[in-house]
């Protein structure tokens, strides 16, 4: 009963977006921490790749249950791995930039942009999830 409530509508996709943004934050922080590390090549996960897989999963759920109920099953790809409800990211997408003399092809501006965008995506997902939860809470307490 509770799991059906939690798997209704947009909540599974919001949850996946939150997990993705939280895991990607680690990768972005790692790249920023290694901004002066020789021989380091910053790697990232493809956001469009994740969005494509998420869309596939939503389409699959629609085809499976016809409606808005049920879990989202993300396909396992090279970069995205789901195990036991968690989401593990394996960054393989390199950044295109010139190679500096310390053999690091950092791009600080791009890193900070990614950081800001990722934080925004996290914020949108958490705000939407919160409003869904409040809707549920209102329904449970039978208030208008």
């Amino acid at each position: 009963m509770i799991s059906e409530l939690a798997n209704a509508g947009a909540m599974p996709s919001l949850e996946l977006t939150l997990r993705f943004a939280a895991q990607r934050q680690r990768i972005l922080a790692h790249n920023i921490a290694n901004v002066n590390t020789p021989n380091f090549r910053p790697l990232d996960v493809s956001v469009t790749g994740f969005q494509r897989e998420l869309r596939e999963a939503i389409e699959q759920r629609r085809a499976r249950s016809g409606g808005e109920q049920g879990r989202l099953e993300l396909r396992q790809t090279q970069e995205l791995r789901t195990d036991g409800g968690g989401l593990t990211l394996n960054p393989t997408t390199p950044a295109d930039n010139i190679l500096f003399h310390d053999r690091n092809n950092r791009d600080l501006e791009r890193m900070m942009q990614d950081l800001a965008e990722n934080a925004m995506a996290f914020r949108v997902a958490s705000d939407l999830l919160k409003s869904r939860q409040e809707l549920l809470r209102t329904a449970i307490s039978q208030r208008v």
């Binding site: 939280a22 934050q25 922080a29 790692h30 920023i32 600080l108 996290f122």
Partner: protein, 142 residues
């Protein structure tokens, strides 16, 4: 999410070590003799970073973040000043009557300090963003 803050903190620590070595280089730019009074001009220290933290216990801790791999001595040649009357001047060899002085270039050190400060700020920004995200996630519970 808590591990994310550790990553940014490791970056802050690494950049601080780098700034400390830069301060040491600038402070010792005129140091000609070692602790026992023999001629041994100071060699500039260069901090070398490497990803991960070998002393961490978890797999993520070993691969994520940054640590100071080693502090190298700059092997570039010493600066030489012609000063025949100086007691520290070379007595023989091709650089006879020259006094060696540390291979610290203050302009280079200044630029490295700027770079370290900017990298420190970038890590601060990452930590701030992570903190905001953690707050938002915790607000889902309340």
């Amino acid at each position: 999410m808590y591990g994310t803050l550790d990553i940014s903190t490791s970056g802050l620590i690494a950049q601080r070590v780098r700034l400390t070595s830069i301060s040491g280089n600038i402070a010792n730019r005129s140091t000609l003799v070692n602790a026992s009074g023999e001629l041994e001009p100071y060699r500039a220290r260069r901090v070398v970073f490497a990803p991960g933290d070998p002393s961490a216990r978890t797999r993520d801790g070993k691969t994520l973040g940054v640590h100071v791999a080693q502090i190298e001595l700059d092997q570039s040649p010493f600066n030489l000043t012609y000063d025949p009357g100086n007691a520290l001047a070379y007595k023989r060899g091709p650089y006879k009557d020259h006094v060696p002085s540390p291979n610290v270039n203050v302009v280079v050190e200044q630029m490295n300090a700027f770079d370290a400060a900017r990298a420190y700020e970038a890590n601060i920004a990452a930590a701030e963003t992570t903190k905001t995200m953690m707050n938002q996630a915790l607000r889902l519970l309340a």
